[in-house]
């Protein structure tokens, strides 16, 4: 390992600009002559729009234009799309209702877009929006996930009972048969609470149109600018693909919520041409709460069957997934193919059957949020495994161990082929770091102080490296999920890597440079990573699903291999040897068995001056591109152990210890990987203890600011103890599995298992707020509750 190569904890190259305030986020861009957009949003969860009178608003100071859904329709601007087709059990396609960027005739959730005001200043746009008169016929709303299909309210005409799909996966007959012969069946009812992603940078967009060239530019807070361009051009039709440049500069966190193509950026691009001015919109936090796609929101009943030896023999799951008022970009895939295939967890479960009903409600659209489907699956599996172990009187760690998959490859009943892993190794390491053997002692010590102490396990698995294009295509994906890279070597030997991945906190400028440094033997200072601009990078699928290491870097590795191959040809001419005798090692091209060699940079220069070979034999230059399509998902897995102490008098849960042992395969930069784990755990702990998006019966979001929606703060979290085990991933050239979502997937069941362990019963929902824990503590038969 070199100081800047694979495996080194290299300090991040991007940090110089971020710590000095020189980062460039979308809202930092101000285009000459720009106007400001403000969206008038629906105050009602469900209403027919009888009329919109923009007249009085139009003549207010600074107003340039006001547009409604009719204007978009006149210009034949299409609706927002959902890019993953799910088929119901009966073979029928999912019921996708129309999703206009500005409402047409009806609003379906609080925050739905009714009109846009474009004015000289934001304050003027806001003032004018207040003067727009909308005549609403307010309709009853359906909000509750579990009741959605029984409601008399109908969100979309295409779906009379608000069902989007009734989908299933697994083998029903085998599962029923296994349950019939089971020795023991454990049942659980779970709610996976609705969350608001809340990257600290709110979404923003600046649209621009150049009348001279007919070119459009969109600056946007996107995790996947090329996908945004494709959707905006091919489906929504705001601009032809080759005329639209999408730039996603520094982006302040995404966690899924910046994957999707929203109404606001659509309108900004379109309106820029209409008003002949650049148009800027920046979400405020209140708008973000209302209109960023939310995450999770499942209601689940699940059952686990075990035999007389305490082996899990079957799992059956029924989930109702709330998709909100419209199908967001990837929403349909999240509670289906990103969920049920993970229900085998780390366990050898011969029979699994899962049914998922996707439903519409009058709430914000629900789509991928860090983990996307996999946290929901892990919550089901790990809560059930824990509860089963308790009911069988078995140690939860040893019950897990007994049921772990140990032979690889392993084909699950839910279409996954796990390639490699060593789950017991992670468990052993986690037990040691967590000092499990002394837990009882610590518990007694807590009891002496009048406190309750509990320990909770989570043996999670996730499917990352999304994804083999053919496989996802057969499952309904509208796109392929490969990644592309171009490695451009300059005559001076410095290198630019153009990648279709996008960094919004992951540190690609550093880790991708480490790969180049490692492979080409040049300093990371000689490497620039270019991303986030469709005019520079040819195409890319972007960053989500922990795919940038396993898929994005594999594309770079493939392109580097081609650069080296071309470099050998050049070297053969320059060093006057046959190509087969040229070796590339430690940054030098040399002739095998001799001391004749040249540095990488020298060969790069030779490639460009092209004096030592004829253009007929070899093309000048040194630049190669590659597309990498993965052959399988990757399967990061690990064990997290959470130890809590609860004050039964106040219900406050304090996390005393957090142990994370993860197997991410080969690690490029352990500092960055650990940072990803920390951040994921914090979001998972947030879900378990603090966060929940709640609507009242009328569909008003009652947790619509940081005052009401409890985000994890420094004081809510402990320092984390993070360990690693490594089984390299066999399916990609770098052995990487991915690390971005692990913490968010692992954490919620670890916390809830710890709390239920402390309380001595299972009945606690997320978020386990002090009030909820206090109530549960009073109900439980722990000695403390008698007070």
């Amino acid at each position: 390992m070199t100081a800047t190569g694979i495996g080194a904890p290299v300090r991040r190259k991007e940090d110089q600009r971020f710590v000095t305030g020189q980062g460039r986020y979308v809202d930092d861009f101000n285009r000459p002559g720009q106007a400001h957009a403000y969206f008038l949003r629906s105050p009602h969860a469900h209403a027919a729009i009888r009329s919109i009178d923009t007249g009085p608003a139009t003549i207010m100071p600074g107003v340039i234009a006001i547009f409604t859904g009719d204007d978009l329709a006149t210009d034949k601007i299409g609706g927002l799309i959902c890019g993953w087709m799910i088929h119901s059990k009966d073979g029928s396609p999912m019921k996708a209702g129309p999703h206009p960027a500005l409402a047409q005739g009806k609003v379906r959730y609080v925050g739905d877009h009714v009109a846009v005001v474009i004015a000289e200043t934001l304050a003027q746009a806001k003032d004018a929006a207040e003067a727009i008169v909308v005549d609403y016929d307010v309709l009853p709303a359906v909000v509750d996930t579990a009741q959605a299909t029984k409601a008399s309210v109908q969100v979309h005409d295409v779906s009379p009972d608000n069902t989007v799909f009734n989908w299933h996966l697994g083998n029903k007959d085998e599962t029923e048969a296994a349950f019939a012969r089971a020795k023991h069946v454990t049942k659980i009812d779970l709610v996976n609470n609705r969350l608001v992603p809340n990257p600290i940078e709110p979404r923003a967009a600046v649209g621009e149109y150049d009348f001279g060239t007919d070119n459009y530019t969109l600056y946007t807070t996107s995790q996947n600018p090329h996908v945004a361009r494709l959707v905006l051009s091919a489906f929504i039709g705001v601009a032809p693909e080759h005329k639209l440049r999408v730039i996603a500069p520094d982006v302040g966190g995404g966690f899924g919520s910046k994957i999707f193509i929203y109404a606001e950026e659509t309108v900004c691009v379109w309106a820029a041409k209409k008003v002949k001015r650049p148009v800027k919109w920046t979400s405020d936090r209140s708008e973000a709460f209302l209109s960023d796609a939310h995450g999770r929101d499942h209601v689940t009943h699940a059952e686990m069957a075990t035999d007389e030896n305490g082996k899990i023999i079957a799992l059956r799951v029924h989930t109702t997934a709330n998709l909100g008022a419209y199908l967001s970009t990837f929403s349909s895939s999240v509670p289906t193919y990103l969920y049920a295939p993970l229900l085998s967890g780390q366990y050898d479960i011969p029979a699994i059957y899962c049914e998922v009903d996707g439903v519409y409600t009058n709430t914000a659209p629900v789509d991928a949020y860090r983990g996307a489907g996999r946290p929901e699956a892990t919550f089901v599996v790990e809560r059930l495994v824990e509860k089963t172990a308790r009911e069988l009187g078995q140690n939860p760690a040893e019950f897990r161990r007994k049921n772990y998959i140990t032979q690889f490859p392993h084909v699950t009943p839910v279409i996954m082929t796990y390639d490699t892993g060593d789950y017991a190794a992670s468990l052993d390491k986690a037990l040691e770091i967590a000092d499990y053997k002394n837990f009882e002692q610590r518990k007694q010590e807590s009891v002496r102080r009048g406190k309750l102490r509990g320990i909770g396990f989570s043996s999670y698995i996730e499917a990352c490296g999304i994804a083999p294009s053919q496989a996802v295509g057969s499952l309904g994906a509208g796109v392929g999920l490969w990644e592309s890279a171009e490695v451009r070597v300059n005559p001076t030997g410095s290198v630019e890597v153009l990648t279709g991945s996008h960094s919004h906190g992951q540190g690609h400028e550093t880790t991708f440079a480490q790969l180049v440094s490692d492979r080409l033997g040049i300093s990371i200072d000689q490497v620039s990573i270019v991303h986030g601009d469709t005019d520079k990078v040819q195409f890319g699928m972007g960053t989500y699903g922990s795919r940038s290491g396993a898929v994005g870097m594999s594309a770079i590795a493939k392109a580097i291999d081609k650069v080296i191959a071309k470099g050998k040809k050049v070297a053969a001419h320059v060093l006057e040897a046959s190509e087969g005798d040229i070796e590339f090692k430690d940054g030098r091209f040399g002739v095998a068995g001799t001391d004749r060699s040249m540095a990488f940079g020298e060969i790069a220069l030779q490639a460009y001056i092209a004096h030592k070979f004829s253009g007929q034999d070899l093309e000048p230059g040194l630049k190669e591109g590659a597309f990498y399509d993965p052959t399988n998902f990757t399967f990061p897995a690990g064990v997290h152990i959470c130890e809590v102490e609860i004050d039964p008098d106040t219900g406050v849960t304090k996390i005393e210890r957090w142990t994370a042992v993860d197997d991410f395969g080969v690690i490029i930069n352990p500092m960055i990987v650990e940072g990803q784990v920390h951040g994921g755990i914090a979001q998972g702990v947030g879900q378990a203890l603090l966060e929940g998006a709640f609507y009242d019966e009328s569909g008003q979001l009652i947790t619509a600011s940081f005052n009401d929606y409890c985000m994890p703060r420094a004081i809510d979290l402990p320092s984390f103890q993070v360990g690693m085990t490594v089984t390299p991933c066999p399916s990609n050239p770098l052995g990487i599995k991915g690390c971005g979502e692990a913490g968010a997937i692992a954490a919620p069941p670890a916390v809830i298992n710890a709390i239920t362990d402390a309380l001595g019963h299972e009945d606690i929902a997320m978020p386990a707020t002090p009030q909820a824990v206090w109530r549960a503590a009073q109900k439980s038969r722990m000695p403390m509750a008698a007070e």
Binding site: V19, I200, Q676, G679, A682, L717
Partner: protein, 164 residues
């Protein structure tokens, strides 16, 4: 319109502003000092923290006119002659940032914490004192480490501290 005159990062500035202009808007839009960020509209996130007469304030909850005749320091104003402030260097060294959006506010709050709590400030105090700053990326683990290390480093660099 109201006239405000203040010193920002050592430079005197005078401008006519709409009286409702927030300090953060004044910094970002009038002065194009875009290092100070906006992450919320309820004074909860701390992305906007700057120093007003040497003390941390949320510039989203301060009117520009309230800063009249004051000294304001932003993230752009704390490094000296190309050298990072010890707290900036500590955030980089300890990986106290990921997307970087909360970072300017975190660093400005962290310096204020050290000014108030001293160079030996411990982890629990740092966690409690960061109550006004949200980070969605780091889980705070490395921010806490960075603040502790930055606090120590500030003791070694008294000149830089005094310069603020």
């Amino acid at each position: 319109m109201t006239t405000v005159s203040l010193t920002v990062n050592g430079q005197s500035v005078t401008a006519d502003v709409d009286p409702r202009t927030l300090l953060v808007q004044f910094l970002r839009e009038n002065l194009r000092l875009t290092g100070t960020h906006v992450g919320c509209d309820t004074s909860q996130c701390g992305a906007c923290v700057v120093h007003l007469n040497g003390q941390a304030v949320k510039s989203c909850t301060t009117l520009a006119v309230q800063a009249n005749a004051s000294v304001v320091t932003t993230i752009e104003g704390i490094s000296q002659g190309g050298d990072l402030h010890p707290m900036q260097a500590a955030f980089r060294e300890h990986h106290g940032l990921q997307c970087g959006y909360c970072t300017p506010g975190m660093i400005m709050s962290a310096i204020d914490i050290v000014n108030r709590k001293g160079n030996a400030v411990d982890e629990q105090t740092i966690r409690a004192e960061l109550e006004g700053n949200l980070c969605r990326c780091t889980g705070y683990h490395n921010i806490v480490k960075a603040v502790a290390a930055g606090a120590q480093a500030m003791a070694q660099a008294p000149l830089q501290q005094a310069a603020e």
